[in-house]
């Protein structure tokens, strides 16, 4: 296999890992943010957590694998981005830590204050994670200051520009909607109806923010010069998907509402990675300083070895993760007898 082919392949594989992560963990983040607002009673909150309880940790591994794959396949991308976005990633880690620990610890003590604290940590941690990842990705599309030595020359506030924050807000609102449609799909009775009601309200906010992001993408990124004014099929299909979400919510077809939100998220990410390719980090200092799949990658040998490893293990992982989703496909009721605490 040629070097260029392998570099392209690994760009695609890393894109797939990130997209898989947002596709799966997106509704986890949404469920986490909604937890204290939607769940009024303790067993309701437990039921909400249990919709993602068996699978959230496995979903998060997509992020770890994406990070590991970036390290292995594009060390310069990993090094520049992770050291450059230092404080943003630190806050992301804090968000993931407090959220992860809370899923495990919140029910292990009956004190209402204890549970209340951990429930809010789940919400805050999920919010932080979605906000920071959205901000980081918007900044990747917009370009960040990088010098000739692949060194990020900005700081945290460089990332907190309007477009970056709009990206963060988009991820938060879309994941809230995603979480609400997921909960409508996974819960029963009154709680399910409340999730449905909430998804309608959240839809309005998410739709407005998505449109704003689409408009500002033309201003903040080089999409017009790279792709043209017509963005092509994928972004348009992504917009169509989010338009259809409300159609399905209103007809109480929550399965389709969830699928359309998922398609919107996946296609938005596909559009993002298409815009980036073959660059992995765009330099706003000088386009010539951008990191690309060609100047940031590992050697041909390493990419070959990693391709073989991925070819063997990715299908296995997909098979058992799919199997575990299948095992826990049933709706969750707030009936105390059936709730796993």
């Amino acid at each position: 296999m040629s070097y260029e082919f392998l570099q392209t392949l690994w760009f695609i594989l890393i894109a797939v890992l990130w997209i898989g992560f947002f596709f799966l963990e997106g509704f986890d983040f949404g469920v986490g943010m909604l937890l204290p607002f939607l769940g009024k009673k303790d067993e309701e909150r437990r039921a909400i957590i249990n919709t993602i309880g068996p699978t959230w940790d496995g979903n998060e591994v997509w992020l770890l694998t994406a990070g590991g794959a970036m390290f292995a396949a594009f060390p310069h991308w990993y090094a520049t981005m992770f050291s450059g976005f230092y404080l943003a990633l630190f806050l992301l880690l804090v968000g993931l830590i407090i959220r992860g620990i809370s899923f495990e610890y919140r029910s292990k003590d009956s004190n209402p204050k204890w549970r209340h604290t951990f429930d809010w940590m789940i919400a805050v941690g999920s919010f932080l994670a979605a906000l920071l990842l959205g901000t980081a990705f918007a900044n990747l599309a917009r370009g960040v200051p990088i010098d000739a030595n692949m060194m990020y020359t900005g700081n945290l506030f460089t990332l907190l520009n309007p477009f970056g924050l709009l990206g963060g807000l988009t991820m938060v609102t879309v994941f809230l909607l995603y979480g609400a449609t997921f909960l409508t799909l996974k819960l029963e009775g009154d709680l399910r109806e409340r999730a449905r009601g909430l998804s309608k309200k959240l839809y309005v906010v998410a739709a407005v923010v998505v449109v704003l992001l689409a408009v500002f993408t033309y201003i903040a990124t080089d999409i017009t010069s790279k792709v043209g004014v017509n963005p092509g099929f994928v972004p348009l299909a992504s917009v169509l998907a989010i338009v259809l979400v409300i159609f399905f919510i209103n007809r109480k077809m929550e399965g389709w509402a969830f699928v359309m939100t998922a398609i919107h998220i996946v296609l938005t990410q596909v559009a993002f990675f298409t815009l980036m390719f073959p660059r992995v980090m765009i330099s706003s200092t000088n386009p010539a300083f951008s990191l690309t799949i060609y100047n940031a990658s590992s050697s041909q040998y390493t990419l070959t070895v990693m391709s073989i490893v991925a070819l063997i293990f990715v299908p296995i992982v997909l098979a058992y993760q799919g199997w575990s989703y299948y095992q826990f496909r049933k709706r969750i009721s707030t009936d105390k007898k059936s709730l796993v605490y």
Binding site: F71, S107, F328, V340
Partner: protein, 466 residues
């Protein structure tokens, strides 16, 4: 403050903290799997309760290991970007494989194990805890192969054009003896840690005559496993030391406060250095008590071989790598080794004595009430071992190839690092407090509290002792 110092402290603190929880996860997973299997085979309720009880404590511990593990993977890029650029072609591979092969396995099947009881076939539920144990220990293998490469780089060339290390032999990387020696030592240490954890908590309940049958079985299992595991730790450590003597002679001699080259070489019983740590002030060595050549024996299994001193190795390294200080902080290497080794030997002795005691009526023995304190032993030994391994490699981050001072992210400021260092300290401190509170509560509450799943009962049973 110097950003390098802060990055080093942060890496050290977060890594030692992470590794407080990892060995118990590695070892206790096998115990839970074993007890659940015994229940499956015998239908004996005591085994079911054992699996539930130790499983509950396993989960409380596991959660912290998982969330602090994410920091581990991210901070190579965050704090050590130049390291990542230099070794990414090699070091990234085992890390990515670890996620793909091990993290997915343990996370997915842990979820299945927690939520699947009664919902999936019992055989599947049993298989899932075994897969968790296999996944955890597999992840140890890959991260240790990665660390093994930092101690003993193999299968690479230095690319003259871009100046980085590049992989040329993947099989050399995955068959690196250093990585496999680490794996042997660490997996055995994980089992020994879990054994002493089980021994200590079982003793607590046996003394109080609570669930005596269950805890006597756990105690017996743990003493047998503990004896085998701590013996394996000992021989793994010894082999590791000999490999270190060949591949990292400076670390070996710094551990032993062995200043001057000699044959035969003497083992230090107690050495006091001056404040610079580079000069001996006073020392008592094994030849003074009539057994000469002990250090030679440790290094190469015979009492006469030559062991080079740190001064000679320093001179050689200066000739090879240019001027600089190549001697690690000897007060740390010397003492962490002695903590680790002494505790390791003590654990072998204790598990042997406990095993002997199980032949008699040990449940009434007066000494039993002190036994819970043995839980702290493996924790000190585990932390000492890693501090020794990593500090002993200084000033190198990759032995002989890249120095720590050249590995740090150049863009980070003191303020960045203070924010993250203080932030991690606060968050990790709070995690430790919550973990300790829950661990103590469930360990003391015993198997009955761990058995109940539903809201009301859990509230009643667990809330009762609040």
């Amino acid at each position: 403050m110097d950003p390098i110092i802060l990055s080093r402290w942060q890496f050290g603190l977060t890594t030692v903290y992470h590794f407080l929880f990892v060995p118990l996860t590695l070892g206790l997973s096998w115990f839970v799997a074993y007890f659940q299997t015994r229940f499956y085979q015998t239908r004996d309720e005591t085994y079911r309760k054992s699996a539930k009880f130790w499983g509950k404590l396993f989960l409380i511990n596991f959660a912290i290991g998982v969330v602090t593990g994410i920091v581990q993977e991210f901070q190579f890029g965050m704090n050590w970007s130049e390291y990542s650029r230099y070794v990414g072609d090699i070091f990234g591979a085992p890390l990515a494989i670890e996620a793909l092969m091990a993290f997915f396995l343990e996370s997915t099947f842990l979820g299945v194990w927690i939520f699947g009881e009664g919902k999936i076939p019992e055989k599947m539920h049993l298989a899932s805890i075994w897969l968790v144990a296999i996944g955890s220990n597999l992840s140890a293998l890959w991260i240790l192969l990665a660390n093994g490469w930092m101690q003993h780089p193999v299968g690479y060339v230095i690319n003259e054009i871009n100046g980085r290390a590049e992989l040329v032999d993947f099989f050399a990387l995955i068959s690196n003896p250093k990585g496999w020696l680490f794996f042997w030592h660490t997996v055995a240490a994980g089992l020994a840690t879990a054994s002493f954890f089980v021994i200590g908590i079982s003793a607590y309940h046996i003394v109080r005559k609570q669930n005596v049958d269950l805890f006597k079985r756990s105690f017996l299992t743990a003493t047998i496993v503990g004896l085998i595991a701590s013996t394996l730790v000992f021989f793994g450590g010894h082999t590791n030391g000999q490999f270190m003597f060949e591949t990292q002679p400076m670390k070996f001699s710094a551990i032993e406060a062995h200043w001057e080259t000699s044959a035969p070489a003497e083992f230090s019983i107690l050495t006091i250095g001056d404040l610079t740590g580079k000069q001996e002030v006073w020392s008592l060595r094994t030849d003074a008590i009539g057994i000469p050549g002990v250090l030679s024996f440790l290094a190469c299994n015979n009492f006469d071989c030559e062991v080079r001193g740190v001064y000679d190795i320093q001179a050689e390294y200066e000739a090879t790598y240019g001027p600089g200080d190549y001697i690690p902080l000897m007060v740390v290497t010397y003492w962490t080794f002695r903590f680790m080794m002494t505790i390791g030997l003590l654990m072998m002795l204790l598990s042997f004595l406990f095993l002997l005691a199980t032949r008699g009526k040990y449940e009434n023995a007066k000494w039993m009430k002190w036994v819970p304190w043995v839980i702290v032993l493996p924790y000190i030994a585990n932390a000492s071992g890693w501090i020794l391994t990593e500090m002993g490699r200084q000033p190198w981050i990759v032995q002989g190839l890249l120095k720590v001072e050249d590995a740090v992210s150049p863009n980070l400021t003191t303020v960045d690092l203070l924010i993250s260092l203080i932030g991690y300290t606060v968050v990790y401190g709070a995690l430790a407090a919550a973990m300790y509170y829950l661990m103590k509560k469930y360990a003391i509450a015993g198997p009955d509290a761990a058995m109940h799943e539903s809201v009301d009962v859990a509230t009643a049973a667990v809330g009762a002792d609040d």
